[in-house]
């Protein structure tokens, strides 16, 4: 009996040594299939993750690789990053993004910062989750104009992608994997690293200048009522509002989804995080500067029948406006919101 135990121990250790020397790819992969450690800034809510889209290291890495891969477009020229530039908080610098063969999209590409906290997606809120959001630009004839099966097949030729896909999802890359992996990567794009955050959530009173603090006081004031919609950690309540930008909207906004005229001209309230990096502004990129945006809100907007009750005109001096803009500029993250480096 003792011999048996002794032999078993010897065999076990021998096998363990052999395994250790083999450099088995499966074992190498197993080491990176850990949960992704999401770096949440102070004040940031926890991120909910769907059961079928685990936020593992491999899932996030695969998602990032796919996000930047132009093979997801019909002619291999357009990736997600073609319209969502990392240097601009994953937004575009053009009013309407250029998609495949130079075609123009119909709305301004928004920042992806903090999409993990959004209850729905697109300017009209027509898509209920990040996974299904991924489908739209790939299929859209003016964006990537591809078939999901073909797009998946195009990237499935990459052995590194295939290995990651097997590791996370236990299957080759297919439309399911595309949507889950890209959505998982986007969920990690957390913004909360600005001087504003240091001031508010870390109590660093010197993080904001006196001018910026004056701007913040104006921002929080009842008279300006910015916080009527731009509140919470994401500086947006993500509601759908008509801000009286036009009397007749070329883009029906939320009405396109609900077919309800009461929703005409309503668009999702955007986050103000990294606002200095995400010009031009509004759903159609019609305003190129923060000064124009403030002028619009100070006017109270045009008298559209669906104009939000939160809209009301206010007086603001040139100095106050400069303070407010200084505050808005303090909302820029001091580090990249991309946590996969």
């Amino acid at each position: 009996m003792k011999h048996s135990v002794h032999n078993a121990v010897v065999v076990f250790f021998g096998a363990a040594l052999l395994v250790g020397c083999r450099r088995d790819p499966a074992l190498i992969e197993a080491r990176i299939d850990a949960l992704f450690v999401l770096d949440l800034p102070p004040g940031a809510p926890l991120v909910s993750v769907p059961a079928d889209a685990p936020m593992t290291q491999a899932a996030v890495e695969l998602g990032k690789a796919l996000f930047f891969d132009p093979r997801l477009s019909r002619n291999g020229t357009i990736s997600c990053a073609s319209c969502h530039f990392p240097d601009h908080a994953f937004s575009d610098t053009m009013a309407f993004s250029r998609g495949i063969e130079g075609q123009l999209g119909m709305r301004n590409a928004p920042t992806l910062a903090n999409v993990a906290y959004h209850p729905y997606f697109f300017r009209d809120g027509g898509v209920p989750d990040l996974e299904r959001q991924v489908i739209a630009p790939i299929l859209d004839p003016v964006e990537m104009d591809h078939d999901l099966m073909l797009a998946a097949a195009a990237v499935n030729t990459d052995p590194a992608y295939r290995a990651l896909s097997q590791l996370v999802y236990g299957r080759a890359i297919d439309p399911f994997v595309l949507t889950r992996a890209i959505a998982t990567y986007e969920r990690t794009l957390i913004s909360g690293w600005s001087r504003y955050d240091r001031f508010v959530y870390r109590g660093e009173l010197g993080a904001l200048t006196a001018q910026e603090q004056n701007g913040m006081a104006l921002f929080n004031s009842e008279e300006l009522n910015c916080t009527g919609c731009h509140n919470g950690f994401d500086l947006s309540d993500h509601s759908l509002q008509n801000i009286g930008q036009y009397l007749e909207y070329a883009d029906p906004g939320r009405e396109r989804i609900t077919v309800d005229p009461a929703d005409n001209g309503k668009f999702k309230v955007p986050t103000l995080r990294n606002i200095a990096l995400t010009a031009p502004y509004m759903h159609d990129g019609a305003m190129s500067s923060l000064s124009q945006v403030i002028d619009h809100f100070a006017s109270g907007g045009l008298a559209h029948p669906n104009r939000s009750a939160e809209m009301s005109s206010f007086a603001i001096t040139a100095e106050e406006k400069a303070d407010l803009i200084a505050f808005l500029n303090s909302l820029t993250d001091e580090q990249s919101i991309d946590q996969v480096r």
Binding site: F122, G126, V127, P128, E131, R132, I135, A136, I138, L139, D140, D147, L148, M149, P175, F176, T179, P252, E255, R256, I257, T258, V259
Partner: protein, 261 residues
């Protein structure tokens, strides 16, 4: 050891005796009757949609004259029927949850298993029922009516197009060239889902084990008019989720175009 051996012999004898006792029973044990195969009470209902134009069989890419006397060539006709069921009094049976009909793919047919009996009405919805329309389409493989590969999904709305009606037209009824102006009317979104009922005047009898065909006539010429709405292509000819009035008219007209043959 010897005692143990004797005891074993005793027990063996006793066991043999016990085993032999049932063998002496005069009544033979009746074998279980072979299982009766379940009697099928269902038949198959095949639902066939027959597109027509002015009562004659309709064909894609053929020039017809519509109610406005425009020359019209339909190049694509796809539509969903959902929640198809038969009714008889208060009884209802689901035939098929959803089917995609594409005029480019030959006969428009779908079938399902139905309990035998005589049914007096057919109910369906033009479109994809809400529960299916709102679900994640990524789970459907190619070949399924809800697969993304069918090209019927509006990804911006995470919803299916219910009717896709594309082609070209010419307002000159005597024109000799191929119609050139585009028409493209797509309907969709839950608000456009329309349930309709068609009475089966003589009853539709389903018998067990047999296939019965229910043919629905779809008068494509009637897509342009109904008792309440006429679509004038010269005025309005495009709808892709951005023209609810036109989509609504087409939806109503398509429902009115259906009848039991």
């Amino acid at each position: 050891m010897r005692m143990n051996f004797s005891r074993s012999i005793f027990l063996l004898t006793l066991a043999s005796g016990l085993l032999a006792m049932p063998g002496c029973k005069p009544d033979p044990v009746e074998p279980d009757p072979p299982p009766t195969p379940p009697v099928s009470t269902t038949g198959t209902l095949r639902i066939q949609v027959q597109p027509t134009w002015d009562g004659a069989p309709f064909a894609l890419n053929t020039v017809y004259h519509n109610v406005s006397n425009y020359r019209v060539k339909v190049e694509m006709l796809k539509f969903y029927l959902g929640n198809m069921r038969l009714i008889a009094g208060t009884d209802t049976v689901l035939v098929k949850d959803v089917a995609l009909f594409d005029a480019a793919n030959g006969p428009l047919m779908v079938q399902g298993s139905v309990e035998q009996g005589t049914w007096t009405g057919f109910i369906a919805g033009l479109g994809v029922p809400m529960a299916l329309n709102d679900a994640d389409p990524i789970v459907y493989s190619p070949g399924h009516p809800l697969s993304l590969s069918n090209g019927t999904y509006w990804s911006w709305a995470t919803a299916y197009r219910f009717v896709m009606f594309d082609g070209r037209f010419d307002t000159d009824p005597a024109g000799t060239l191929a119609p050139a102006q585009l028409m493209s009317i797509h309907t969709g979104l839950n608000a456009m889902y329309r349930e309709f009922e068609l009475p089966l005047a003589n009853g539709l009898t389903i018998t067990a084990g047999n296939t019965t065909t229910l043919t629905l006539e779809m008068a494509v010429d009637a897509f342009f008019y109904s008792p309440t709405d006429t679509i004038d292509l010269a005025v309005d000819n495009q709808s892709h989720g951005d023209n609810a009035p036109l989509a609504t008219m087409l939806t109503n007209n398509v429902v009115h175009s259906l009848s039991v043959q």
